[in-house]
């Protein structure tokens, strides 16, 4: 697989993952719905702001979805998740949020507009959408004013407003079920996390669910008071757990469902894609491409490992010189296969 083919494969796979997850959330699509991983809507939105620039239909469908279901998103968490994406696509998010405020009259997004304005990048105006060959898609007709204000050129937004309701019975939408039950706050996300955890302290939990530790600590202690969450004391601190079987029965949780830290997965994959996309000349020579992939892997692999995606990377350490590229490509391919729910390439840990 050439580097160009690899980049295209990565982009296609990412768009596929995004479509699968949005389809599970109610966007009409002919792709299979996500059925393996718990969906993280805030991380999914950032990933869509990034990869969605290569798929206008997905991008616009998501604006419709946000207009209809945005109340289920947690704005504080959305801000916290941005750290993983290094402020990337802040203008895209700002433009979407302002569109929702002005055109769809969704005042909740005002906070996002203000937040994005503070971090806005004053770059030259660029085309929002691109082809998979990285060629900007020209605008036919009038440009959308709101997006132009954020330095993004696109055609006028023309939404169909056809969308299904979120299927709360789909196990992947557990977080939405929890938020509908507990409210849009850390409590819902903490309980959802604990359902997949064998016990962790408040710092570890806050890092994995992207909430402020003080808030997480406070909520955990409140939950402990109810007796439904347990605090176990150890020499080095305390761990929080809950009774999986009771909670699973009550919330009808599918045991095959997995929890991974999507913010890490999406940001690592976007980082890889961005490097290949922004500096393609670095990948023209086969040795330099290997060297670059190795450089990328130093950030990429730890992020993937700590996200909960279990794919072996041992063989990468032994690959020297140009041999690194095929091994790295194979590693990324296995990750994507796993995320897409294809099992033929997965290695057991």
């Amino acid at each position: 697989m050439s580097v160009k083919e690899f980049r295209e494969y990565l982009l296609d796979s990412m768009l596929n993952i995004l479509w699968k997850q949005w389809a599970a959330l109610g966007i009409y699509s002919n792709v299979e719905q996500e059925d393996k991983y718990l969906i993280d809507p805030e991380s999914l939105l950032y990933a869509t702001c990034s990869f969605g620039r290569f798929d206008q239909r997905l991008f616009d469908e998501v604006i419709i979805w946000l207009g209809e279901n945005g109340s289920l998103l947690n704005i504080d968490r959305l801000k916290n998740v941005l750290v993983f994406f290094n402020g990337l696509e802040i203008n895209t998010l700002g433009a979407i949020a302002e569109y929702l405020v002005q055109k769809e009259k969704k005042k909740k997004w005002d906070r996002v507009v203000l937040f994005c304005e503070r971090k806005k990048k004053e770059d030259e105006t660029q085309d929002l959408f691109m082809t998979k060959d990285l060629i900007p898609i020209p605008i036919v007709g009038k440009s959308e004013e709101i997006f132009l204000r954020w330095g993004l050129r696109r055609n006028e937004v023309n939404l169909r407003h056809i969308i299904r309701e979120i299927d709360f019975e789909n196990p992947c939408n557990l977080l939405f079920k929890m938020r509908s039950f507990f409210g849009i706050n850390a409590r819902a996300d903490i309980c959802a996390f604990l359902l997949f955890s064998e016990g962790e302290n408040s710092l570890q939990i806050s890092k994995k669910i992207h909430f402020n530790q003080r808030n997480v600590y406070h909520v955990l202690n409140e939950l402990c008071r109810s007796g439904l969450v347990e605090k176990k004391y150890f020499e080095k601190g305390s761990l929080y757990t809950l009774d999986h079987s009771n909670w699973s029965d009550f919330f009808k949780i599918d045991k095959s469902l997995s929890y991974i830290i999507w913010a890490k997965v999406f940001s690592a994959l976007y980082y890889l894609f961005e490097q290949m996309f922004q500096q393609p000349e670095k990948f023209e020579d086969s040795y330099l491409a290997s060297s670059e992939f190795r450089e990328i892997s130093e950030i990429f692999i730890p992020e993937i490992k700590s996200s909960g995606v279990k794919v072996l990377s041992k063989h990468l350490e032994r690959a020297t010189g140009e041999l690194f590229t095929p091994q790295f490509v194979d590693y990324v391919e296995k990750i994507l296969h796993q995320l897409l729910g294809k099992t033929n390439k997965i290695q057991a840990i």
Binding site: D285, T320, G321
Partner: protein, 114 residues
């Protein structure tokens, strides 16, 4: 350990890194096992590449061998090659450059007359 093919491979890689950084060129003079290996004089492997000096051409056309004080970009490029090929820290080093000094206080250059 470095054999002839590996030495050529890692030096080519070093050249590519330097070229990509838009730095160089730099003419290094290599001595010891690596030099003899590439010239085909010996077949045994060597553990490193010894730089004895840097060759500079003056405006007069005269060539001068200077003490090997490697620029930052060279060190950075060598560091990347080290990482890429899993080489030891001193895979390319200026250990023997004191030969150029010949014990003079100036320790700067000596003329080279091929």
């Amino acid at each position: 350990m470095l054999d002839k093919a590996t030495i050529e491979n890692v030096l080519t890689a070093l050249g590519k890194q330097i070229e990509f950084m838009k730095k160089g060129p730099i003419n290094i003079i290599v001595c010891g096992g690596a030099a003899l290996n590439v010239l085909g004089q010996i077949r045994r492997t060597t553990k490193d590449i010894d730089i004895v000096g840097i060759l500079k051409k003056e405006e007069s056309g005269k060539l001068k061998i200077q003490e090997a004080v490697l620029p930052r970009w060279f060190v950075d490029a060598a560091e990347r090659v080290k990482r890429d090929f899993n080489l030891p820290d001193t895979w390319i080093n200026v250990g023997p450059t004191s030969i150029v000094c010949r014990g003079t206080r100036a320790c700067s250059t000596m003329e080279y007359d091929p």
